[in-house]
C-alpha cells in the first residue's frame, strides 16, 4: 500500500517487468527519484549526494550510481566530476522546442495505433476526475502536481505505438517540472478547471472510441497550457523590468 509500484503496467521503463530482485530494486529507486525530481521535491539545481541516497535506501553507492546514470540518460540530472550531481533546469528556448514537438506527438497519440483502453483503465481515469473535482476545493498545488502526473502516466500508458509511448513519457518527465514551477504563480483554480475539462473530454472520447480525438484534445490543452505559462512569464518579466520587484 505504501508503494504501489504499478505492477499492472507491463512496460513502464523499457520492456518486461522486473524479474530479479536487483532489477525490482532498481526500478523502485528509479521511480522514487524520478517522482521526487518531477514533483519538485528536488527542485532544479538541487544537489543529490550519492552517499546520502545510499544511506537513505540502505545500500552502497553502486546501485545508486546505476539509477543516477539512468536518470542522467533521461536528461533529468547532470553529474560533474568533483562537483556533484544536480537536477537539471530547462531554459525557455529548449522548453519551447519540446512543447512544439509534444504538440505534434500528441496528434499522433491515437492515430498511429488505437489506444489500449480497457474498462479498468477507464475506471482509473474516472478516479482521476473525482480527485480533480475534490481538488477544486482543496487547492493544494502539490496534490495538483501529483494528480497531473498520475493522469498523464495513465493516459500515456494507453498509447498503442510503443516507441511513441516511450518518447511521449520521456518528454513529459523532462518538462513537467518546469511547468510545475510556474503553477504557484498562476490562477490555480483556473488551471484545475482546465485540467478537469481535459480529463472529462478524454474520457468521453475514449468511451466513444474516437481515439484520434483523444490526441486532438490533449494537443489543444498542451497548447493552451503552454500559452498561459508563456503569458505569465512575460507578465513577470515585464513587471520586473518596470517595477523591479522580481528576485533577480
Amino acid at each position: 500500500m505504501k508503494t504501489p509500484t504499478t505492477d499492472r503496467d507491463p512496460s513502464p521503463l523499457s520492456e518486461a517487468g522486473a524479474s530479479t530482485a536487483a532489477q525490482a530494486r532498481f526500478q523502485r529507486l528509479h521511480k522514487i527519484l524520478r517522482d521526487r525530481i518531477c514533483l519538485l521535491d528536488y527542485a532544479p539545481g538541487h544537489h543529490l549526494g550519492e552517499e546520502d541516497l545510499a544511506q537513505e535506501f540502505g545500500t552502497s553507492r553502486t546501485p545508486i550510481r546505476r539509477v543516477l546514470g539512468w536518470l542522467e540518460s533521461e536528461g533529468l540530472i547532470e553529474r560533474r566530476h568533483g562537483v556533484g550531481t544536480i537536477v537539471t533546469d530547462v531554459d525557455l528556448r529548449s522548453l519551447d522546442q519540446v512543447y512544439r514537438l509534444r504538440l505534434e506527438l500528441a496528434s499522433l497519440m491515437g492515430r498511429l495505433a488505437p489506444m489500449r483502453c480497457s474498462d479498468a483503465d477507464l475506471a482509473l481515469l474516472q478516479t482521476h476526475l473525482t480527485r480533480c473535482s475534490k481538488l477544486r476545493q482543496q487547492r493544494e498545488p502539490t496534490e495538483f502536481a501529483r494528480l497531473n502526473m498520475d493522469f498523464c502516466v495513465a493516459l500515456f500508458s494507453m498509447i498503442g505505438n510503443a516507441p511513441l509511448r516511450e518518447i511521449t513519457e520521456r518528454l513529459y518527465f523532462q518538462t513537467s517540472r518546469i511547468w510545475l514551477k510556474s503553477v504557484p504563480a498562476m490562477d490555480l483554480e483556473e488551471e484545475i478547471s482546465h485540467f478537469e475539462r481535459q480529463i472529462f473530454d478524454v474520457i468521453e472520447a475514449l468511451r466513444v472510441g474516437d481515439h484520434g480525438a483523444v490526441g486532438d484534445i490533449c494537443r489543444a490543452h498542451i497548447s493552451m497550457s503552454f500559452n498561459r505559462m508563456t503569458l505569465l512569464r512575460h507578465a513577470q518579466a515585464g513587471g520586473a523590468s518596470l517595477g523591479a520587484t522580481a528576485t533577480a
Copy 2:
C-alpha cells in the same frame, strides 16, 4: 586521426561536449560500442562480456558498466543477472511501429524548425554522394552500411529542433541494424541507387532552402525502403513455407 570523435558536433549525445577526461573516454567507448552494434559487428544475440571489454580497452569493469548502462537505456543491449549482456533484436511488430513513427518524425524534420545547414555541412553531404558513387562499383555491404550511418548522422545533426533531433537519432540507432540484416539478401545495386538519389535530392533541397522538402524526401525514402524490406521478408517466408529451404 585514428578516432575523429567528431568534435564539430556540439550535441551528439545529450548536451555539451566532453569536458573532463572521464567523460571523453565515456563518449569514446559509447560511440565505439554503439557503432559495432549498429554495423552488425556485434549482431543481435551477440554476447558482450564486461571483463573482455574491460581488458580490450585497458580499464576495469566499472567504466565499461557505465557505458553498458547507457546502451541499455537506449535499447541496444539487454543485461540479465547471472546470464550476461546480449545485443537486443527487434521483432517485426515493433519494427513496424518504429517505422510508422519515423515516417511522421521525418515530416517534422524541417518543419518544426529550419535545418542548421552550413556550407561545411553541404560539403560533407557532397562527400557522402561521392562515396556513394564509388560504392556503386565496389558493392561492399559493410561500406554501404557505414556510409548510410554517416549520412544519416550528418543529416540528423542538422535538425533544428533539439529534442526531435535526439529522438530521431535514437530511433535510427535502434532499428538501422535490423534493416541492415536484410541488406545482403537484397539487390545491393538497387539499394545503392535509391540511396544515391536520396542523398542527391536532400542536397538539392537544402541548397534551395526548402527545408520542408528535406523531410518529405526522407519520409518517402524511409517508406519505400521499409516496403522493399517487408516485401523481401514475405518472399523469404513464402519460399520457406513452400520449399522448406530456410534455416528455421
